[in-house]
Amino acid sequence: MINFFSLEAFKLRHKLRAWLGPLLIMILVLIAFPLSIDISQYDLNKFYFSVIVVSLLMISFLATESIFSEDYEDGSLEQIHLEEKDFYKITLAKILVHVFFIGIPMALIGSIFSFANGVSFAEVPKIFVILSISTLILFNVFAFGSALSINKGSMLGVVASLPLALPAIVLLGRGVRTVQYGQGFFEVSVFMAGVALIVTALMPVIISATLKTHLE
């Protein structure tokens, strides 16, 4: 399993565009929002979280768009299947490596920008925790969409996985509200962590079945 992590990390490190691109787009969106709207600082504090949440959704999709299509198109998936007989380990490794290289930095960027828009310094770690857990859930969901729509275009992946991502966004919004109003952060974040663990355990199984179907 460790071998899979190191191999996937090796590959992703060498694909600068794949991990740096989504992060730069997120920064662009977070900067562009306050520039594009004539809004008071007070109101910006209230709305800014929505921008972070929506940008997290979009960038999570972008980051996982070709998570499996590259291996499918160059034949690596077949070689993996010959060695491992299923794709559980490689899928889990890919998702976790993507979360580590892209998701956690996204959560960090979101936390920094929330601090720049009025959130107190003491609340920033809480924002970071909520956003990190959310990226884990969203990356799993969008990885499933990518697996379903391998080589059929990203729009199909969006249509397939968006209905699963929207409940995750509702949960994220609830988590953000606990930070805004200072109530129930521990309970909501534990609940979110539980959901994230379940999704992270189950989704690779589902994705593995999906990838096997594509190979047939």
Partner: protein, 195 residues
Amino acid sequence: MQLVTANNLGYSINEKRLFHNLSFSLNSGSGLHIKGGNGSGKSTLLRIVLGLTSPSKGGVEYCKPNLQVSYLGHKNAIKHYLTPMQNLELIFRSSALQNAMKWMNTLGLNKVQDELTANLSFGQQKKLALIRIFASESDLIILDEPFVGLDNSSRDLLNEFLQKKLASDTSLILTSHIEPNILCSELVLSGDTDD
């Protein structure tokens, strides 16, 4: 010793039959050359033997437990954004990497080992992909059009390698429009699409 047995294999796609009632067996140290026209199902048959594709009817039995299989299909399974050296590091564990690097030198790829694979020619990429076969210890080698893109010296090298492998009890199944220079039995697929 019998290695692989295929019993009454049939395959259909979208209700159209590609082949049916196909049976063959392969012993250790023997080769099978699958021939047929375009679209007759050669690559599909290889994928069924590998277990990548499920047949519509029949099945494939491996007579040896933990059979080690090396496979190279139409796709090379190499990363274009990595160098040949990096690709080998991705494919091989450290114990086999030395052997893989020897083959890289033998195939003349050491001169381009630090260039991006995307910048190599088709033939050079094919040779890089073939190192997966050359440097692996396996009981069964399965190749889909391995000679395509290779220059004459590389073709001779591959033929020699396959002949040596057959002599050392490794089995071989391949499809090729280019006639291989090795002793093996033939299976011809006619491309059956009747109900």
